[in-house]
């Protein structure tokens, strides 16, 4: 048994208010018992070999098992306060692509999106309109309008030679419905027809089309996912069109396709079986792969991999641009492979003994290189287990001169255990202490020296680095090592985050296996997907909702694709709460 059952929870929650580390460290998602029933160390938290126990609920009475305390006593659906969400840049571009098939749009420019640490890019609450967005949308709308008007025959089937007026009506009815993801109201229809007719009279039909397109693409019903406000104080079901939009943007990052829009029109989408089959159908589309990729990019901050472009040549003489490219590619491919083509379980994601290996990566794994390209290869299971031991991820969480236990610890704690980590104090010198040639030392020793010797730093870094040290066997390019500058590697780690896998571990493989079967970790994974599905912060996800989604799965094996469908079928996805204010 690795797992200490010491009373870590109170120690963690109350012991961190140290000096400059004043941010609170606590579970990222809302725990129903917080503040009410803090059982601390007396709770049933414990072994990861007991995943069916705490956190799973309703499984009491099995012989030889502890009686489980239901993590969620109260299973009332608690919806997060809704915030109007708008299309992300990706969704915006995909939707324009799909509105005008056969028309190639280039040169569309969008401002960068900002993202809060505890949320995804689609978080409605953070999407405030800005001058640069409004200007970009205006420019893009005009560009798309003029290009689309030139090539109208490829996306609107009607003959302008014989019936301009009829085409104008069709334009508004068809394109308008696609752009708004619902039929236009009578008032809207009249308004848009008025525009087209006046523009046609003044500037000719082609120009009228361009102007109508320009208006549609700046319309609030295009840019925002507008949902009807419940009139009372209770949550209400979404309309079938609203549900179709949520579904389509969640799973495919674009507007509902023709089939989904038809199912929405018939009202059948409101039936659970039909909603389920539509979700399953959408997940077979190529765009679903892109969406899953985008989730993982954001969840794991894989955009940081873009920064792997420089390594200290003294310590990493074999690093070059080709290796950097392979590191990035193989990690992205790994996620896609496990999610779609392998069993698709969370456990495989974390413990798979396979990886994509090419000539550049083979030495990092100590395996022989494939003759060409990148191949799905079995690797040393004593050294590697799944996503967190991927060289790409390990390198991405490193610095130019050395690996970073801090970066690695933060990722594990935030992304896998939903433990909020406060930012360092503003005056903290966060420049890593680099290794110096001629002064043999390990990264771990340098970190302990800097972080754990000062009370100001120790409060948080004991937890952060203590977690990150599990990955000391991977250097700053993700290669396996047993010594650093001639000194032996110590990858013993201690997790004390107030989670069910708190305890001591010997290295990454040992740790990620526990992580894979941890109920807290699976719930955290579901929390991130729910946040992504709903455009809310992970901290606004109801932990019970996450648990309900996880519990639908076969025990000990969280099938990710099925979990996405379960999210779609959940009340959190199908209902809308009234606005709090």
């Amino acid at each position: 048994m690795h797992y200490s059952k010491a009373t870590v929870v109170p120690a963690l929650l109350f012991g961190l208010g140290l000096a400059s580390c004043t941010g609170s460290v606590a579970g990222g998602s809302k725990r129903p018992s917080d503040g009410q029933n803090n059982e601390g160390g007396e709770s049933n938290r414990g072994g990861a070999d007991n995943v069916e126990g705490p956190g799973w609920g309703g499984e009491a009475g099995e012989p030889g098992k502890q009686v489980a305390v239901d993590f969620c006593v109260d299973h009332t659906v608690k919806l997060a306060t809704p915030h109007l969400t708008r299309l992300t840049n990706t969704q915006y571009l995909n939707t324009i692509r799909d509105l005008f098939p056969g028309v190639t749009m280039t040169d569309l420019d969008l401002p960068g999106e900002t993202r809060r640490r505890e949320a995804f890019i689609n978080q409605g609450e953070a999407q405030n309109p800005s001058n640069s967005f409004v200007r970009s949308w205006a420019t893009n709308a005009e560009r798309v309008g003029s290009v689309a008007a030139e090539k109208m025959s490829s996306w609107l089937s009607c003959s302008t030679d014989t019936d301009e007026a009829g085409c104008a009506v069709k334009l508004i009815d068809t394109l308008g419905k696609q752009a708004f993801r619902r039929p236009l109201t009578t008032v809207e229809n009249q308004r848009y027809r008025g525009l087209v007719n006046a523009a046609r009279a003044a500037y000719g039909f082609k120009e009228a089309v361009a102007m109508a397109v320009s208006a549609l693409l700046q319309d609030p019903n295009f840019l925002y996912l507008i949902e009807k406000l419940p009139t009372g104080t209770n949550a209400t079901d979404l309309s079938s069109y609203e549900l179709a939009s949520r579904l389509s943007y969640f799973l495919t990052d674009t507007m509902p396709d023709t089939e989904l829009l038809a199912v929405a029109e018939s009202g059948a989408l409101l039936q659970t079986t039909r909603l389920q089959s539509e979700a399953q159908r959408l997940m077979t589309k190529p765009s679903a792969r892109a969406t899953v990729d985008s989730f993982h990019q954001q969840w794991l901050h894989l955009d940081k991999l873009a920064g792997i472009n420089k390594r200290n040549a003294e310590f990493y003489p074999n690093f070059n641009a080709a290796l950097a490219a392979s590191l990035k590619e193989s990690t992205a491919k790994f996620v896609g492979k496990v999610f779609w083509d392998e069993g698709g379980t969370f456990q495989q994601l974390l413990t798979s003994d396979h990886a994509f290996v090419d000539r550049a990566l083979a030495p990092l794994y100590g395996v022989s290189a494939p003759s060409t390209g990148m191949e799905w290869t079995q690797v040393n299971s004593g050294q590697r287990a799944g996503l967190l031991t991927q060289p790409g991820l390990m390198a991405g969480l490193s610095n130019e001169n050395a690996n970073s236990p801090t970066n690695r610890g933060v990722l594990v704690l935030e992304a896998f255990l939903c433990t909020a980590i406060p930012s360092p104090p503003a005056n903290a010198d966060t420049t890593p202490v680099p290794p110096e040639s001629g002064k043999p030392t390990t990264t771990r020793a340098r970190m302990e020296n800097v972080h754990l010797s000062k009370a100001d730093c120790k409060g948080c870094h004991e937890l952060i680095d203590g977690t990150g040290f599990a990955f000391e066997n991977y250097d700053a390019i993700g290669a396996w090592r047993t010594e650093e500058m001639g000194m032996p590697i110590n990858s013993k780690a201690n997790i004390s985050a107030g989670v069910d896998i708190d305890g001591d571990y010997d290295g990454a493989v040992d740790f990620v296996k526990a992580l894979a079967s941890s109920a807290d970790s699976q719930r955290c994974f579901a929390t991130h997907w729910l946040a992504y599905a709903r455009g809310i912060a992970t901290t606004d996800v109801d932990a019970c909702a996450a648990q309900r989604v996880v519990r639908k799965q076969a025990r000990g094996s969280l099938a990710m694709r099925e979990m996405l469908v379960d999210i779609v079928l959940s009340d959190e996805f199908r209902k809308r709460a009234p606005s709090a204010i």
């Binding site: 915030h83 420019d109 800005s130 001058n131 200007r135 205006a138 420019t139 008025g194 208006a215 507008i226």
Partner: protein, 484 residues
Amino acid sequence: MNPVVKSIGRRALLQSLGLGAAVATQSPKVQAQTAAPRRILFFYTENGTLQSLWKPKPKPGETVATENSFQLGDLHRDDLAVHQKKLIYLENVDMISTDLDVTPFGGSHQRMQVHMLTGAPRLRPEVAGTASLDQMIAKSINSPSPTTAFPSLQYSAVGEGYYGEQLVSWSGAGQFLRPEVLPTRAYDFLFKNFVQPKPGEPDQSVAKRKMVYDVLKAQYGDASARMGRNDKLKIDAHASLLSDLQSALSLMPKLSCTKPDRSTAVATPILYAGQGKYEAGHFDRTADFYKKLVTTAFACDLTRVATIELGGWIPADITGYDGDIHLGRVHSLTGERDEADLRSRNGFDNIWRYHKWYAKQFASLLGMLDSVPDGLPGQTLLDNTVVFWFSPMGNGGHDPHYMPYVLAGSGGGHFRTGRYLKYERRQATAEERAIDAQGGDKSPTPMTRGVPHNNLLVSLANYMGLNINTIGNPKCCTGPLERL
């Protein structure tokens, strides 16, 4: 006219700025009748200066530097002497407002960045409590209806990350205005709606946009009516931005400028130390492009308010120091030191090159502005602009006192240039010293204080037509800066 710029060919420079046609088509008569608008440009560099080398010196053969008789300090002389007649050096201006701000310090750079153009207590450690001066000016010029297509422009040459977000411009309390960090994007933002008017052909774009806008206005109105309070704010804000854009775009085509060449725009942002790779010259090209954009925008009256920020991390091809110069050199070398001591220090060459680069950038900016004819015959854009060069700290020790402020351009004769204004220092009050002393990573609080920088902000506001007598914290503002 600056003789140096003349010699490299004024026409070539104007062409590169996209202003050749504008100048060529302007007859002297028309030009003479045009009253030039007033502009203000905020030029930001990081990490203070080398005080002893920054201060103006006595002319050779003289013993004191006076208001009207002085030569530039060593750090600026090579690059800026040609502009001396159009400069004003301000010595002993202090950011007293930081001494009176009880809000916790937060980041030592950020704290001063926030104070720089607000002079007011912060809302939170790194959040401004009021709008900044540049935005107050931009708002007043464009109220009640827009006068320029862009109320203001903010460009930062070091982008995205710790040093990329100089917290200088605030549209209101807590409303940070993030600067653009990418030259290509800056260009597109400025010129994407720019329609080159064709002679003899009426421009229809205004009328067309108006028709589209009328539909959108009604659509946003309907959407707003259906929203809960939170979402309604968002939709209304969007509608209001659309309305502003509509007004601004209608101002565009009246201009007779030509777009500058986009091809020299750098397409990758500069990232903080170690996060990106830079070819030699990347920084110069980025800074140059921003200077061109602002010069063009002023000349074409696309805006009258702009900020160019050159952040703190400058790479080895400029400084000769391969690493984070901020941590490696700035702190250890730019405190209060006498000149001989400073010059003898290890690493002096790096920090000299660092600050000299800023001076060169400033000089080349003035050169550009001074090459563009503007307003009355013989005047240039520089003559009808005030460029305020500041750093948010006095020295590399995070000291918000002894600010190294320089003004350039007389603003159409509003300020008398070619001067060195040295203000008196007084004893610091206990309150001023107590708050300032709390900063953990700054140089010790000085025993004396100069004049408050809020007064300078008032003078600049007055110049731009804001009829105010105080700004920011009234406890450290006594009106316009005397003698300026």
